[in-house]
């Protein structure tokens, strides 16, 4: 009886460990491609992955979307992925400096920041009106790429001839939350809980966002161009497939999808 129980336990344990292992590709032609991608890429990458799966039989693209800093931390602590697509180079550099990247990461798109305001708001139309006391501005935390960009932009706006020198400080007074992910900033403005939020232009291309918000543009000289780099990771067990995806990312098909979602295409070298 005891032996039987122990045997059962053994079977259970081996089943469990088998299901945990990622190394099940040898006897199965089906391949998984695991991509860790910045939260702002959620919708465009889903569409690109669909196209990629259509032209590659028996391939499933599996995503982990989160703030780039969350993803890089996960990767640094041993999470497995084939490709990492970051919203900035700071997070990508953490990966390359730890020798986790197979080759030099490459930009595949760029983005810039805008300010969104709920459409029903009747008092907020200009940059200068953001600092009116009582305004609730939501930004990303400076740990997040979007937050770093926002911070730089706010500093730069102090030099705007139409705004005062104390503008950056006043603007910081109206910040009510530093979200850990740019999509959370979008949500809080879409829900009408915040009066304004600093988000990517690409975020405003989503239908559920564009219906609910209007955009205040940040002039180019004060804006930040956010470059999106991607790389194949050293530990990838499907490097060929990953290379295929990286190529596909630069194809006109993918680039058009990215443009549709508000990103700027990369210039061909």
């Amino acid at each position: 009886m005891l032996i039987k129980i122990l045997l059962n336990l053994l079977v259970l344990i081996s089943l469990f460990s088998a299901s945990c292992s990622t190394n099940s590709q040898h006897d199965n032609p089906h391949q998984d491609l695991i991509i860790f991608a910045a939260a702002s890429l959620t919708d465009s990458f889903r569409e690109i992955a669909n196209e990629f799966e259509n032209i590659n039989d028996d391939v499933s693209v599996i995503f982990n979307f989160a703030g780039s800093q969350q993803l890089s931390t996960q990767l640094l602590h041993g999470a497995y992925a084939d490709i990492f697509a970051s919203a900035d180079w700071i997070q990508m550099d953490r990966i390359t400096q730890s020798d986790l990247s197979l080759s030099r990461p490459q930009n595949f798109a760029s983005n810039q920041l805008v300010i969104i305001v709920p459409s029903e708001n009747t008092s907020l139309f200009e940059l200068s009106e953001l600092v009116t006391p009582g305004t609730k501005v939501v930004v990303s935390h400076t740990n997040v790429p979007a937050g770093t960009y926002t911070n730089t932009i706010i500093q730069k706006l102090g030099q705007h001839p139409g705004l005062s020198e104390s503008y950056p400080d006043k603007l910081k007074q109206t910040i009510v939350s530093e979200e850990t992910n740019v999509r959370n900033v979008v949500q809080k403005v879409v829900l009408g809980e915040a009066d304004a939020g600093f988000v990517y232009l690409s975020d405003t291309a989503l239908p559920y966002v564009s219906e609910k918000v209007r955009i205040i543009n940040i002039p180019d000289q004060y804006n930040q161009i956010a470059n999106y780099p991607a790389t194949i990771l050293m530990e990838s067990e499907s490097k060929e497939l990953a290379k295929g995806f990286m190529e596909f990312l630069k194809s006109s098909k993918s680039q058009n999808i990215l443009e549709k979602y508000g990103f700027q295409k990369i210039q061909d070298p």
Binding site: I5, S177, E178, K188
Partner: protein
């Protein structure tokens, strides 16, 4: 027939002591599974360079302060509202109360993030009650008040449930006797009911406080994340996890130690109420 069945059952149980080794090995595995992460946090924190610097950083201290202040305010409100409520639930019996009784327990099983969404929909600026709150000049989201609301929402049921059980364990006969002896109802409540129910009440208090201080999902949805204002310890742990693992570990150790203290207090009261029942 029934008797034979019962005999078979007892025989079965006693004739298979072989279950014991399996039971023990599974228990050991489980203890490892629970214990190792706890030990790992302490070991990794001890190895971390500059742990004290992380502990003393502005963000950490502000998060600690905020967590302490908000959780204490929350618990005081929970006790003030929850105690009479629990007494009512324990003493009166009606269909409506039974319904409310089960409603009270909803936040216990509700995912906290759902609680956050629900609170936004109800008390947010665009929420159902938003216009009313706005007209009296109250906007809750992104304020410390929102942190407290979220904590009360998730923590109150733990207190109310425990206090109700505590009051139920005090027989109304005692209260009746006390009052026939000329003690006022108010004094009876303070001198008899509360002391007799106190082990339950206090363990409920400890559980509710632990739940309030660890509240995360509803807070980040409803109150946002701003250092010193709405960033409580769990939120600070998440934010720090993404850049400064040291700070994240330091905060985790503090929360871990606080949890252990709560467990010890709970154990103490459980022991006390067990003795009281002897």
């Amino acid at each position: 027939m029934l008797r034979t069945f019962a005999r078979i059952k007892t025989e079965r149980r006693s004739s298979h002591p072989l279950w014991m080794p399996a039971g023990i090995s599974v228990t050991l595995l489980y203890v490892l599974f629970i214990g190792l992460p706890v030990v790992a946090i302490l070991v990794k924190a001890a190895q971390q360079k500059g742990l004290f610097a992380s502990l003393l950083s502005d963000t950490t201290i502000q998060a600690l302060q905020l967590s302490l202040v908000t959780s204490i305010i929350s618990i005081v409100i929970v006790v003030i509202i929850g105690t009479p409520f629990a007494l009512l639930l324990a003493r009166k019996d009606s269909l409506v109360l039974k319904f409310i009784d089960s409603l009270v327990e909803l936040p216990i099983i509700l995912p906290p993030i759902v609680a956050g969404v629900a609170m936004l929909m109800a008390f947010g600026r665009q929420g159902i009650l938003g216009p009313v709150l706005n007209s009296v000049g109250i906007t809750l989201p992104f304020t410390t008040g929102a942190v407290i609301c979220a904590q009360i929402f998730v923590a109150a049921p733990f207190y109310i449930r425990a206090a109700k059980l505590g009051f139920q364990s005090v027989s109304t006969d005692y209260e009746d006797v006390s009052q026939t002896l000329g003690v006022s109802p108010w004094q009876t409540f303070w001198k008899l009911t509360i002391p007799l129910a106190s082990p339950s009440i206090l363990s409920g208090l400890a559980l509710a406080w632990a739940r309030a201080i660890s509240e995360f999902g509803a807070t980040i949805m409803f109150a946002g994340n701003l250092t010193g204002k709405t960033q409580t310890m769990p939120l600070a742990i998440l934010t720090a996890m993404e850049s400064d693992i040291g700070a994240s570990l330091a905060l985790s150790v503090i929360l871990l130690l606080a949890s252990i203290v709560v467990l010890i207090i709970l154990g103490f009261f459980a022991n006390k109420s067990w003795r009281a029942n002897l």
